[in-house]
Symmetry: D2
Subunit: 336 residues, 4 copies
C-alpha cells in the first residue's frame, strides 16, 4: 500500500485528488501539507470531503513528509513547486508535479513565459511528460513526472495522432479552447465573481497563454518537426470541462475516414480515450478521466473536437494515472 | 428636465440605475460620484454601458454635486450614506437613499442590527419608506426617500394586504426567501467565487439577516399590531431575482379565494404589481419593475409566493419609481 | 459476487446507478432492461458511461431477467413498477424499488395521490421503507425495499430525530424544499427547456406534491402521533441537489443546543449523515451519498436545514446502501 | 405613429421584439398573429410581458392584418415566411423578415441548404440584407428587408471591414462561434433539456450549419472576391449571447494596429458597434443592440473576437433598427 502526500491540498486540484484517493484501493493518504499553521481539518477546507477523510492539513517539514510518505503529489504554484520537489526527490520520494515547472524542456522558454528563474534548472528536459498515451514507458520508470496542463492535454490528444501519421500539416494549426471556471483556481478575483462570469462567455489570453508553448513542444515531438499552434482560450460559465476545437490543414488525399481511422488506431487500447462518431460534449466526460474525440473534414480542412474534465484528465485524474504507472499498479486503478 | 447624480456608481445598483436612466425621458445624468481619483469612464467601470453614456466617474465635492444636480441617488454603504445625505439635503438636493440608513424608524434597532452609530439620528423616523404601493402620498411630498431593501420588498408586497385586511394572523409568520447572487454586491469574496456558488444552493443568515427588522417594522405598520417574522434567506445560483415564500396562519373562515381577492383588490390600480393565478418564477420579472404574487391555502395555512428582480423592483427600479413621484412625473416613466 | 439488473435504465436514476455500480466491488451488472427493442449500447443512451460499460439495454423477458440476476433495481414509473416487481419477487429476485409504489403504507392514500389502482395491493404496508437511518434492521431482512423519495429523504432526516426526542411539536411543521432540475426526469418538457428554467427560480406543486403524504407517514411513525407537514417544493436552476428548510414549533425549554445535541446523538454512528455547525450548501454533498444537517433557533422556532444530492442519497445512492444491507455486505461499499 | 404587426409572436424572437416595442416611442403594436385559434393573451404566452401589453394573439386573415398594420415583423419558419410575405407586400405592408428566406441571393444555394422549394423565387436576390452597417441606404428604400442570421451578424461585423480594406486574405477564414441556448428556439428538445445542456459545452453542425453560406455570401460581397469560411458553431450553457472568434491570414505588412485602425475607421459613426481594446464578453452586450469587437495578431494571423446578444443585435434589435430606417425615424429609436 503506497503512502501518499499532497503538497498544497487546499485548492481545487487538491480537492479533486482527494476525491479520487477516497476511492483508490492502492494507496493510503498519510500527509496533507499546507503553509497554514492552524492545522485545519480537511473537511473545514473542503466541506465536500466531510465523512470521507478525518485528516488535518499540516505545516510539515521536509523530514516529516519524507517519513510519512513514499509518493508526493505537488500542487504548488510554479517555481515554488520545483524548489520543493528537488528536496523531495533527494529525500527519496517519487513525485507527480501538477505545476508547470518540469513540463517545458527548455529553461529559456520556461523563463520567458513564466517570468521567473527556474529553481531546479538541471532537471529541466530530463523529466517525463505525464501523458501516458504518448510517454507511458518513460513514466513507468520515472521518479518525477510532469503532469500536463489541462488545455495541452485536450489539444495534444486531438492532434498528436494525426501529426504522427502525417495526415495534417505541422503548419498553421489553430487550437480554439473553451474551459470551465474551475481552471482559474480557487482564489476569488473580480473576473470570476459569480455575477461577472455567470451567463457570460469570453475570450482571454489570445496568443499569450502559457499553455501555448507546452502544446507546441509536445506536438513538435509528435510531428518530428516544428509546430507552432495559435492557441485561443475562452471561459465558459460552468464549473468544469474543456472542449478544444482544433483546425489543421490536410495532407494530400486525406479525408475524414482517414482521420477517424488514425485516431481509432492510435487509441484502440487506451482505457481513457474514446474516439466517437458524434460530436462531443463536456458533460459526457465530467467527473471521469476520459477524453472523447472526433474529427471532421469541412471546407477542406481537418476539424478535431476533443473534450476532457479539466480537473480530472486535465489534472488530478492524469496524476493518479501517472502514479499508478510509477507505482507498478494497474493503470486504471481508482479511475472511471 | 431633472438633473440627477449617482453617488457611488461603481456597484451593481449603480449599473442598474444607469441602465434605467438611459431609457428615461425625464432626466439627465449630470454627475457620477466616486472616491476613485482617476476619473474612469463609466464604460470602463461598467462595460455594459459602452455606447450608452460618455461620462466619467468623478471625485466631486459636495459643492460640485450641488451645482450639477437636483436629485441624488445614494448607493453608498450604510452609515457612509447618511453622513453624506445630511449634507446633500442641506445643499438643496432631493435624495433617494438606496442604503439601509433611513429605513428603520428606531435608532436603537438600527444601531443594534447595523453595529454602528447612526450619523444623522435626528432624521430617523421622519423619512418616507419608498414603497409606493404603501406610502405613495408621503413619497410624493418627500425630499428624502428610504428605498426599501430587496428582500423586504418581496415579503411586504406579499403580506401587507393580507395583514391589513385581517385575513392572516400577525403571529407566526415565516418568510423563506431565495435570491440571486447579485444581491451580494460586486466585491469578490470566496462565497461568491463562481466555482463555489455555481451549481449550489445554500441557506445563510438564518434569523440574523438585517432585513428581518425592516420587514417586521413595515408589516407591523400594515397590521396595526406587532409583527415579528422568521426570515430565512437563501442563495440561488443565478444572477438576479428574488422569490419569497411566505407562510401565515389564516384568520377564521378565510379561504384561498379571499386571499386572492384581497390581493387583487389591493393591487388593482398598481402599475407594477400583478396578482397571478399560476405560481410565479423569477424569470418572468427579470429586467422589469414588476412583482408577481399569488396565494394558496395548503394544510390550513396561507402560502404567498412573490417574485421580483432584486436589482430593479428591489433596488434601482423602485428608486426610479420614487424619483418619478418626487419629481412630479408619471410614476411609470422609464420603467417597464 | 451479486448479479444485478436495472429495470428501466435509460433515465437519470439508471445513469446514476450505473455510475455507482462501476465503482462497486461487490456486484456485477448482468442485465439492463428496457422496452426498446433495438438493444442500444449503454454508451449510446448514456454517453457519460462510454468506457465504463460495454453492455446493451435489452428487452428481456421476466424469465431472462430471473436467469441473469439475483437483485433488481426497478426504475419504472409508478404502477408499472409494482406490476413487474410482484413477478420479479415470485421469480426469486430481491428488489430495490425506486418508484413510489411501496412507500406509502395505505392503499387508499396511494390511490388518492397517484390516481391509479395499485397493481399489487396485498404487499402494501408490508415493505420496508429504505431509509437505513430509521429502518436498518428491517431493510437487512427484506426481499423488497421501497427506496424513499428525494424530498422525503431530506425532510425526514432533518426532522425525525427531533420528533422522536420530543423536542419539536408534531403540529404545524413546514418543509420548504428546493431541488435541482434532474429531479424532474429526463423527458424534455417546456418547463425544463433550458432557456425557460435557467436563471429562474420557481415554486411548484404548493401543497399538492405527492411527496407530502410520504413525509407525513414516516414522520408520523417517528413522532408516534399524527404529523401533517405543509410541503412546498421549488425548482433551482442547477443539475442536482436538494436543500430543505424545515420549520417547527419548539417544545418547552428547548434551545438550539438541545436540537443540535439530539441530531448529533442520533447520527453519531451513521456513515452518511453529518451534523454540521455551519449552514449547509448542496454543492458540499453533490456526487456523494451524504446528508449535511444543522439546526437553528430563530424567533422562538426550530429551523432545520438539510442537504442531499437528489440523485444519490435521494435515489441511486440510497438504493446501493439498501442493496448493501440486503446482500449482507458492508453498508458503505461503493459509496463515498 | 407606425402601426406594426408581429406574425408568429409566440417564440423567443417574438418575445424580444415585444420587449423592445414596449419602449419604442415611434410605433404602436396593433396585431399579434398566430395560428392558434384560442386567442390567448400575450401575457399567458409570455409571462414576462405581464403588465406591458394587454393584447391577444389572434389568428388574423391577411385582410385583417392589412387593415390593422403598416409594418409586419415576420417570425415564421423558413418557407412559411416567404409564402406569407409575398402576400403581405401585395397588401401594401412593409416587412422585416426574421426568417432566412430572403437572405441568400441564390435560389439554388437556398434550396440546397434549406431543402425546400422557395415559395417566392422571383424576389430572391432583390431584397436588402438587413445589416445597416453594410447596407444602410438600401434598407432605407426597401419595402422588404431580410434580417440577418445571428451567427452571420457576429462574424460579418468582425471580418467585413478587414476584407474591404484588404488587410486579410479572402482564403482560409475560420469562424469559431459560441452561442447561448435561446438561439435554438423555444421548442423543448432532448438536447436543450436543462440537465442535458446545463454545465456542458458542445460543438454542433461543424461545417454543415445553414449560416455558413450566408456568411460566405456577405463576406464575398465585402471582399469583392469569393470567400468560403469554415464555420463551427458551439452551444454555451447560458441564455443569450454569441461570441465569434474569427481567424484570418494577414496580408503582407499588416500588424495589429492596422487591424484595429481599420475597425475603428469603419465603425466610427456607427451607434451600435464599439471597437474595444480589451477582449469582449457576451455579458457586456446582453440586453443591448451593441456589438463589441477587438482584433489581435497572434502567431502571424489575425484573430478577431466579436460579441452580440443573439436575440437583439442578432435578431429583434436588428429588426427594430431596420424598421427605424425603413420608416424614416431615428435609427436608434427604442434601442440601447
Amino acid at each position: 500500500m503506497a503512502r501518499v502526500a499532497i503538497i498544497g491540498a487546499s485548492g481545487y486540484t487538491g480537492l479533486e485528488l482527494l476525491r479520487l484517493f477516497a476511492r483508490h484501493p492502492g494507496m493510503e493518504v498519510t500527509a496533507l501539507v499546507t503553509r497554514q499553521t492552524d492545522a485545519p481539518y480537511v473537511a473545514d477546507v473542503h466541506p465536500s470531503l466531510r465523512g470521507a477523510f478525518d485528516l488535518r492539513l499540516e505545516a510539515l517539514s521536509l523530514a516529516e513528509i519524507g517519513e510519512r510518505a513514499d509518493y508526493a503529489f505537488a500542487c504548488l504554484p510554479h517555481a515554488a513547486s520545483a524548489a520543493l520537489i528537488a528536496q523531495l526527490l533527494d529525500a527519496g520520494l517519487k513525485v507527480v508535479d501538477l505545476s508547470a515547472d518540469y513540463r517545458l524542456t527548455s529553461r529559456e522558454v520556461y523563463e520567458q513565459w513564466y517570468k521567473v528563474t527556474h529553481p531546479d534548472p538541471d532537471r529541466i528536459g530530463k523529466v517525463a511528460y505525464g501523458l501516458p498515451e504518448l510517454y507511458r514507458s518513460r513514466i513507468r520508470e520515472s521518479e518525477l513526472v510532469a503532469n500536463p496542463g489541462c488545455y495541452p492535454t485536450s489539444a495534444i490528444l486531438a492532434l498528436a495522432p494525426l501529426l504522427k501519421a502525417g495526415l495534417v500539416s505541422a503548419e498553421g494549426i489553430i487550437v480554439d479552447s473553451k474551459s470551465g471556471v474551475s481552471g482559474a483556481g480557487r482564489d476569488p478575483k473580480p473576473a470570476f465573481h459569480f455575477p461577472e462570469c455567470n451567463e457570460s462567455f469570453a475570450a482571454y489570453g489570445v496568443g499569450t497563454h502559457r499553455h501555448m508553448p507546452e502544446i507546441d513542444q509536445v506536438l513538435t515531438d509528435a510531428a518530428g518537426q516544428g509546430v507552432e499552434v495559435l492557441f485561443t482560450p475562452h471561459l465558459v460559465p460552468m464549473d468544469r470541462g474543456i472542449l478544444s476545437t482544433s483546425y489543421a490543414t490536410l495532407a494530400d488525399g486525406v479525408d475524414q475516414n482517414k482521420l477517424m481511422d488514425a485516431l481509432r488506431d492510435f487509441y484502440r487500447d487506451e482505457p481513457f480515450v474514446q474516439v466517437i462518431d458524434g460530436l462531443p460534449a463536456t458533460k459526457h466526460v465530467a467527473g471521469t478521466n476520459n477524453c472523447h474525440i472526433t474529427a471532421r473534414v469541412a471546407r477542406g480542412r481537418a476539424v478535431v473536437v476533443s473534450v476532457i474534465d479539466n480537473l480530472i484528465k486535465g489534472a488530478a485524474g492524469a496524476a493518479v494515472q501517472n502514479f499508478n504507472l510509477m507505482s507498478g499498479q494497474d493503470e486504471t486503478l481508482g479511475l472511471t
